[in-house]
């Protein structure tokens, strides 16, 4: 509830309309590129949007440093970030839900089990298994199949286990960074935050290794039936979010090291980035259990 004696009313801003133009060029350019056109529009739009967002965040930071932001406005930013993360949760829920449906309904039905087992008539010889080494297509059409299953899948107890340890550790390190920031110990804050960024980088590197392994040696690809589909879409979107989170934390680190930003009692930029980081960490735990361990 409002607690201010008088209200803050913002000035006009050119940022949103420019951000719109950037976003539009990016979306239009992406569609154009995927449909076989050139990629220039997409990259122009992406670059434009990124620079607008740069100026946008810079403006917000400048306003806050100048003391223009009331406690109320700061709370609005907190609400905003919280609900944004909830929207991300629901985005991942769609893909986890798809995995659930495929494993519990569509694959068993295609193999002749349950209420809709009659569909097995179309895919003779297809059997229910997970990982799905033999797709319905491959079972029914052999060598002429469009979707051929993977030869093998990623063993959860090697790279993914390491990645789990790395990401869980990074959640702890970012928490320590927060603790030291609240104590006002900038040196230790920078150190722990720097450690978190490095862990994030290592995770992305190992994930890239895993993808290389999957594509080069295991025949596990986006096209290898529904196992590859769910595997790459879930881990891929997670990887994209880790990359974004690492960039966010890196920017926070640079803000602290170079510009001496953040005060012990005023550092929501960092806090928001760390919330985001904890969120991608939780998603990973879900992935490790449902995609890797239960999927192997």
């Amino acid at each position: 509830m409002a607690s201010e004696s008088s209200y803050y009313v913002p000035e006009q801003s050119k940022l949103p309309i420019f951000a719109t133009i950037g976003l539009f060029l990016m979306a239009f350019g992406a569609a154009n590129w995927i449909n076989g056109g050139s990629s220039y529009i997409f990259f122009t739009g992406a670059l434009f949007l990124a620079s607008v967002l740069w100026f946008w965040f810079a403006a917000v930071i400048k306003e806050n440093m100048a003391g223009l932001n009331s406690e109320q406005l700061k709370r609005s930013y907190v609400w905003g970030m919280g609900w944004f993360i909830f929207s991300e949760v629901m985005f991942f829920a769609a893909f986890f839900g798809a995995l659930y449906y495929i494993r519990n309904f569509s694959v068993p039905w295609l193999a002749g089990e349950g209420d809709n087992g009659i569909s097995n008539m179309l895919w003779e010889g297809f059997e229910n298994s997970w990982p799905l080494y033999v797709t319905p297509d491959a079972a029914a059409h052999g060598d002429t199949a469009k979707f051929v299953g993977p030869k093998d899948v990623i063993d959860p107890w090697h790279l993914p286990l390491w990645n789990t340890i790395i990401l869980l550790t990074s959640s702890v390190t970012v928490h320590f960074a927060h603790v030291f920031l609240k104590k006002g110990e900038r040196g230790k804050f920078n150190m722990w935050l720097g450690g978190t960024v490095i862990l994030g980088g290592v995770f992305i590197y190992l994930q890239a290794q895993e993808y290389y392994e999957a594509y080069q040696h295991l025949g596990l690809t986006l096209e290898s039936g529904v196992y590859g589909t769910t595997f790459f879409m879930l881990t891929g979107f997670h990887g994209a979010h880790v990359t974004l989170g690492t960039i966010m934390l890196l920017i926070m680190l640079l803000r602290s090291v170079i510009a001496q930003h953040f005060k012990p009692d005023d550092h929501f930029g960092f806090e928001a980035a760390s919330w985001y980081w904890h969120f991608v960490d939780v998603v990973w735990v879900g992935l490790f259990i449902f995609v890797y361990v239960l999927g192997a």
Partner: protein
Amino acid sequence: MAHGPQPGLKRWLYTTNHKDIGTLYLWFSFAMFFLGGCMALIIRAELFEPGLQIVQPEFFNQMTTMHGLIMVFGAVMPAFVGLANWMIPMMIGAPDMALPRMNNWSFWILPFGFAMLASTLFMEGGAPNFGWTFYAPLSTEYAPPSVTFFIFSVHILGASSIMGAINIIATILNMRAPGMTLMKMPLFVWTWLITAYLLIAVMPVLAGVVTMMLMDIHFGTSFFSAAGGGDPVLFQHVFWFFGHPEVYIMILPAFGIISAIIPTFARKPLFGYSSMVYATAAIAFLSLIVWAHHMFTVGMPIAGELFFMYATMLISVPTGVKIFNWVSTMFKGSMTFETPMLFAIAFIILFAIGGFSGLMLAIAPADFQYHDTYFVVAHFHYVLVPGAIFSITAGVYYWLPKWTGNMYNETMGKVHFWMAFVGLNLTFFPMHFVGLAGMPRRIPDYALQFADFNQMASMGAFLFGAAQVVFLFNVVRTVMGGKKASEQVWENPQGLEWTVPSPAPYHTFSTPPILR
């Protein structure tokens, strides 16, 4: 605090003012309403007679698809967001929306997103032609190339909706004037709080499902392809997980508007305020667990059919609470029938008809008869046209004097109402009959015996379209001038918005208002 609106185009491009942005949303929605309406008239013109007269089937399919998409995402949703922008800060005593720059961004994405969607009409292979529900594999394997542009336009429109919803939640939870406790908020604010929550819960799922389509079409995945182990029915589950709450997103704010208008013209306080709040929350919760009632004929396990049937029927309980409360508010009230009240009463009666046909459709065994017929078209147009559209219209007439400082022309308002009322019933009521008799939806041609009812429907549609021209004329006239409206506008209406001058000042409150 003194700064007022900037002159010229800059005011609209760079604005951070909730009233400016509300106005932009409302005019944009009005424009889309006419665009989508013209497409509906093309459909109705073709269906005036059996056989093919005016358009080819391919184009007919593009029209049904684009009509649905434009009305849902371009007309109804932005209109409610526009009303939220205008009214919520005034109703809760806030200076503006919580995040004003993001507010502007949410709006400006819309015209760009729809320009992209509309541009598909001129692309090779034509616009999306797979219905607004874009079921796979029609929208994946058999789609025109423009589907890629459709997917990305849905992505940015969804981003706009999510940002708008976050803004509304932050405003309501953080910007209320001292003393404005949650249970003192006007119902329009309450319904929007719950709607915004639904939006954030389901728009990302829509983004997810179009992403799956994109991957299936261009990158060889097999979410919706049985050959790879996926299932086209999976598309329907994910889509309707978004799609069903979406229909409540289009009706909950309408409940809020009606709950504001009925007490004013019945001159009685709203009956059962707290039960209205709880009923809204209950409807929102139930809306998240009923999605598969759109898919009874797709071959679900019997347990699924039963669960979704009973869960769907449960929704009629909180909805019935609302209807009961509105009727009780009017009971022994000293009623007058100005244009907003006419639309509000028509809303209650006609929305109830849409609700009853919804109950019929909810009965799984009976739905096998109704599925994909004009009965379904009649049902959802009865909840959307006299539901969403009438409530928006009622809200516009109700608050227009507050926005512009001028009274609208009451006679013209009544003419608008009766033309629209007769037009829409003439259009959609006969669809119940042809639907029950087996006329399939989304087909440009039909069997001879359906001709009479279809001709009635087509005439009604053009009458309804003409009514909206009267509406446009009335609104423009009121914006330009007219009889000055008082601060209260109506006789003793409730709410903070009626305590400020008409037109409401550019910045409504410079200090928090005192609540009694």
